[in-house]
Every structure is written in C-alpha cells, then in structure tokens.
C-alpha cells in the first residue's frame, strides 16, 4: 500500500519539493515580517499574513492563473505555446454573461447554462488554435498571437465594452462557504485542486500524457514511432482552451461580472507559472502540480509586495527578478540533485 502510494507520487516528489520549500520559506518570511493588526472584535493581535482569510484569498487569487497554467503546461510540454488564454478567458466570460442575460434562465439552470457556454466557448477557441496551428503549418506563437487579439476584439465587439453582470446564482456557487466561517470562499481553491489533480493524472498516468512529453521531447522520433501528432496537438490546445473556460467561469462567477478587458496580460503570468514550475519552453518537461505551485509562488511574491508595504511602483521589477531567481534556483537545485545522485550511484 505504502509502496504503491510512493510509486504514484514519485513524479510529484521529484519536481515539486524544491518549489514547495521555496513557497514555505516565503510564507515563513511573510509571517515574520508582515506585522499584525488588532482584531476589531477581540483586540487580539492577528498576523497580517498568517490568518485564514489572507491565506484563502491568496489561494483564490492563484486559482484563476493555476487552472489556466495546468492547460498551458500541457501545451508547453508538447513543445508548443499558447498566448491566447487570457483572451479565451475574456471571450468565454462575455459569451456566458451575454447568453445568461439573453435567456434569463432560472437559478439552477443559470449555473448549468453558464458552465456549458463558458467551457464550450473555451474549448472551441482552443480547438481553433490547434486546428489552425496544424492545418496552416504556421508557428503556434503566430497563430495564438493572432487569436489573442482577435478573440479579445470579438469579446469587445459583442459586449460593446460593457461589464456585464452575471446572475447571483453563479456568484452564490463560486462564493459558497461550504461550511467554513463567513468570508472564506473555498470553491476557487477546490476547483484549482481538482483541475491540478486531473492534469496530474492525464500527464503522468495516461498514454496521452506520455505522448505529449514524447512529441515535446522529440517530434521527429514521435512521428517515426507512429504517434498521431496532429491529433495530440489539437487536443492539448483544446484542453488549454477548456481550462481557460473553467477559469473564466469561476472568475466571472466569483467577481460577479464579465468584460472584454478581463484577464488582460494574464497569458504571461500563466506561461511564467508553468516555467517557474519547471516546464521547458522547448518541450518535453512540465507538470500540473509544478505549474500550480509555480502560480502560487508568483502570487505570493505579488502579495508580499503589498503585505510588506514595499513601494507598489517596484512590483514589476520585483516580480521579474523573482521569476528569474526562482527558475535559476530550481535549475541549480536540479543540477545539485543530479550530481548527488550520480555520486551515490557510483558508490
């Protein structure tokens, strides 16, 4: 039983312990230096970082990026890139909000229609990226750069730049407390965990996952091995679109509205999360759990700027430097571990 569990978690161990350690160290540093404030009800000191509300909010902030990062990791592991996830998020959200406004279905039906439209539009956009990449033979960077603009433009045109409110039924779902105290909303976190778990299973426990790494690692060898490369590429883009649709549903429902400007620039955070999580832009490497941890690290860095009262104007500099440092430390650790293992093997 124990051996089976270790076998199951082996890929997690290898890639994620370094990231988890970094997150933990940052969390400890934040706890130590964040200061505290008196609880207005009891006057007891409350740590500005280490309290359930802040931690849940951090997880919520990370969840929208992390859900998309799981899909983006599959694309990157297959040796491709998807720059359009932020625009897919915006179009899916706007399409959902407009459909719900037009149909005005009942409470329960709103949620179902919202999920179907959001996930459906996301998947269709992903399929479009995949089909165009394969069919036109143009580099995916160019295809998804084009769809990044076109899909956001479409969202803008159909929404007339309005921020469209979504029905309360959706917000009630995304902000359900599930038995926790008021003000703690675990649904985005739960969705992130479920998406990450699914991504982990697909990438590490299925034939499709092995094939994704194979075509990312060596596309020619995969072709000679008889892998259906085009079908796989279309599939990973569809999954990336689907995860953007899931993030859009949770995000728009949680914040209560959808607009064409939503998730502007998020594609770069998503790609950065995957890379910080160990995905290689040349393909063949990356994991769902790592991507989620990478997202959490980036969101924690963003949050630390506010919590530690650093000058907000330095946010981009700090995040940029932190991403490069995190990846460099990860690479350094990986090299050290490889050297240590080689030494132990030779003994």
């Amino acid at each position: 039983m124990k051996a089976g569990l270790h076998r199951l978690l082996a890929p997690v161990h290898r890639q994620q312990s370094g990231l988890a350690l970094l997150i933990l160290l940052l969390g400890i540093a934040l706890t130590m230096f964040a200061g505290s404030h008196p609880d207005p009800a009891t006057d007891a000191p409350v740590n500005n970082f280490l309290n359930s509300y802040t931690l849940m909010q951090t997880a919520t902030n990370a969840s929208f990026f992390a859900i998309m990062a799981v899909g983006a990791t599959m694309v990157i592991a297959a040796g491709k890139i998807d720059l359009s996830v932020g625009s897919i998020y915006a179009l899916s959200g706007v399409a959902m909000a407009m459909t719900l406004r037009a149909l005005a279905p009942g409470t329960g039906a709103s949620v179902v229609v919202g999920i179907v439209v959001c996930l459906g539009v996301g998947t269709l956009c992903g399929l479009l990226n995949g089909v165009m990449s394969v069919g036109l033979g143009v580099h995916p960077f160019i295809i998804t750069l084009g769809t990044m603009w076109a899909l956001r433009g479409l969202a803008f045109v159909i929404s007339h730049a309005e921020s469209i409110l979504v029905p309360d039924a959706l917000t009630d779902v995304a902000k359900a407390t599930l038995g926790l105290p008021p003000g703690l909303y675990p649904v985005p976190l739960a969705t992130m965990l479920a998406t990450t778990a699914l991504g982990f299973v697909v990438l590490s426990r299925t034939t499709m996952g092995r094939h994704i790494y194979a075509i990312g690692g060596n596309v020619e060898a995969s072709r000679y091995s008889g892998l259906a490369i085009n079908r796989l590429v279309i599939s990973v883009y569809a999954i990336s679109g689907l995860t953007a649709g899931v993030a859009a549903f949770i995000g728009c429902a949680y914040y209560g509205s959808a607009a064409s400007a939503d998730a502007t620039g998020y594609e770069l955070y998503v790609i950065a999360s995957a890379v910080v999580g160990g995905a290689s832009l040349s393909g063949g490497k990356g994991g769902a759990v790592s991507a989620a941890l990478g997202t959490l690290l980036i969101v924690l860095i963003r949050q630390s700027i506010v919590t530690l009262r650093l000058d907000q104007n330095y946010e981009w500099i700090i995040i940029g430097c932190a991403i490069v440092t995190a990846v460099a430390i990860d690479q350094f650790n990986a090299r050290l571990a490889a050297r240590r293992m080689a030494r132990e093997r030779s003994q």
Partner: protein, 345 residues
C-alpha cells in the same frame, strides 16, 4: 535506485511536514467571523486608485496623505494611508486588493473603481466584515459603499462639448478622445458629449476613439485620427492623457483645431498658453484624496453622517486663470509646474 528513492522521499516528507505545521498554525490563528468596527485612535485607510502610472492618481495620493497629516494633528489620532493601487487598471486585481486590505486590518477603504461590476462583491464583503468603503472619481453605485466623491460624469461630458461648441462657433466636426472603453465613468462622459452635441445642429460627432490610457498611446491615437479625418475641427477630450505629451504642441494647428479637455495637470498648461486647448476643465485631483479622507474620518472616527453623493466641481482653466491654477498646483505638491506660469498674474 533505492538510495535515490529514499532521498526523494526524505526531502518530500520533510517539506510536507513543514507545510503541515504551517497549515496547523494558520488554522489555529484563524479569527472568528463577525468582525465589527471598533473605536480606535488609529484610522488606517487603504487607498486603491485605478493605476499607479496615472499622474492624476498620484496627486490624489498626495492629497490623501496631506489630509491624513492634518487630521492626525487636529484630532490627536493617527490617520495613515496604505497605497494599494495596482500598476495597471484591472478591476479583478482591485477586488483582490480590497480583500487583502480587510484581511490586514484596514479601518476604511477608499477606491476609484476601474470596473464597478467587478468590485461590487468585494466592497460588499468588506462592508459585511465591518470595513466601510468610500469611492472617488469612479463610483460603484450598486455596492454598499457609504459615499462617493467626484464629478458627475454625464455633466462633465456635456460641459466639455458645450465649451468646445462655443470655441467652434457652433459648427464643425468633432472627435471624442475617450481612453479605456471599459471604464464606466468615461463611457458616461462620452455619452454626455454626444448628448450635448445633439443640441447643436452645426456640430457633427465623427467618432469616438479609444486608446490605452498612457500619454504616448493617446497622442499617437490623436495623430493617427487626424491623418484619417483631416476634416476634424475640434477634439472633445474626456481625459487629459494626450496633452501630457509635448507632441501635439507642434502637430496640432490651433487655427484649424480646438481642444477642450478634462484635467489640468502641469504638462497640459502649455496647450492653454499656445491656444491649442483654450480651456481645460480641471478636476482638482488632489481633492479626491484630501476631501475623501476627511469624509472617511468624519464617518469612522467622528461618527458623523456623510452624504452618499459628494459632488466635485470642475475648475475652468483658461489663459486668464493660468497663473492662479499653476500656483494652486504647486501648492498641492506638483513639482513640475513651469516657472513661467507661476509668474503669471
């Protein structure tokens, strides 16, 4: 191979043990629900403007900090401003900052909403946890904020168009420079411009032009549009972005094109002086911060009633009032006011 597996398991289990310890600690420190505002000598206000790269919000921050100092001295309390403005406009990030401000013990929140619909929920959550919220510049009227301070946006658009129509003698072709198409306050101002233009049969609105809200993007948009629509005689600028550059000082001919713009910051003053923008309708952006902080202290510390809508009046800046306005800007802490304008009567 066994050694490698053992090492990985060891590292992993150590990491996870530490993570579990952190989790236990966090659960132990979780505060209970139902936080209410308590009387305190500290009034910590989280200020969330639309973007920290826009100079109008930097002046509002200067105003807020000045009010904090003045009110601290006046009432013997400690009013502090915690600047939580995101670098670029993003309603979702603003909603996250509201939650973070509440979690970190803010006693009140002051916000200019990039997207009111996106922050309504976060404002309502903050109010439910006992933290009052006030809006400035761009309101969230559907939320539970206790007050708003700023201009009436439709009236502002109407005033821009009315002044421009006067300068154009009631006839000509007008373009609207409208900034971010998603900002509800700017949408209303553009609506006000169109509404007022409809009253003048000789005025034709050619189009509304949106752009990224940076000075360079705005100026580039004006130049691009002037090439495509050479028949333009007037620009109704519902924000001052394009006039924060020097480009249009040489590229717009004041004999052919007149500009009326909202805002009146130091970089815009040469446009008044050269007659390209004979009138600026300045929002005293310093007052966004100053007056709003006064209202918050009234509400939170002095327990006074504060009206829900607190209207800000626009200040017309023309060649005859340029010197007075320049000195006012200098007094509010702007360091880039040209000496030549300060010397004017």
């Amino acid at each position: 191979m066994r050694t490698q597996g053992a090492m990985i398991r060891r590292t992993f289990s150590r990491t996870m043990t530490a993570a579990a310890a952190l989790l236990v600690a966090l659960l132990a420190t979780a505060p209970g629900p139902g936080i209410t505002a308590a009387q305190s000598k500290n009034v910590r206000i989280a200020m969330i403007a639309k973007s920290s790269t826009n100079p109008v919000f930097l002046s509002s921050r200067t105003g807020a900090e000045a009010a904090a100092r003045a009110l601290s001295a006046k009432h013997g309390i400690n009013v502090t401003i915690n600047w939580l403005t995101p670098p670029t406009e993003d309603g979702q990030v603003q909603a996250q900052r509201i939650a973070q401000a509440v979690n970190e013990g803010a006693q009140a929140i002051l916000i200019s909403c990039s997207d009111a619909a996106k922050v309504n929920g976060a404002i309502n959550d903050a109010v439910a946890r006992g933290v009052p919220v006030m809006t400035f510049d761009s309101d969230a009227p559907a939320s539970k904020r206790f007050a708003y301070y700023g201009v009436d946006d439709i009236e502002t658009g109407q005033r821009v168009m009315a002044e421009l129509a006067k300068l154009m003698n009631g006839k000509g072709n007008v373009a609207i420079l409208a900034g971010n198409q998603n900002a509800p306050n700017l949408q209303k101002r553009a609506e006000g411009v169109r509404k007022e233009a409809a009253k003048s049969p000789g005025i034709k609105i050619l189009n509304t032009f949106y752009h990224v809200e940076t000075p360079q993007d705005a100026a580039a948009k004006v130049l691009e549009v002037m090439k495509a629509y050479p028949e333009i005689n007037g620009w109704a600028m519902i924000g001052g972005w394009a006039l924060f550059t020097k480009t249009l000082l040489t590229d717009l001919d004041p004999r052919k094109v007149k500009v009326v713009s909202v805002d009146g910051l130091p970089p815009e003053l040469p446009y008044v002086d050269k007659g390209i923008a004979p009138m600026l309708l300045a929002q005293p952006t310093y007052q966004w911060g100053y007056v709003s902080v006064e209202k918050i202290v009234d509400k939170v510390y002095l327990k006074k009633d504060v009206p829900a809508i607190n209207k800000m009046e626009l200040v017309p800046v023309t060649k005859s009032t340029l010197g007075k306005w320049a000195r006012q800007l200098k007094e509010w802490g702007f360091t880039d006011v040209a000496d030549e304008y300060l010397k004017l009567p």
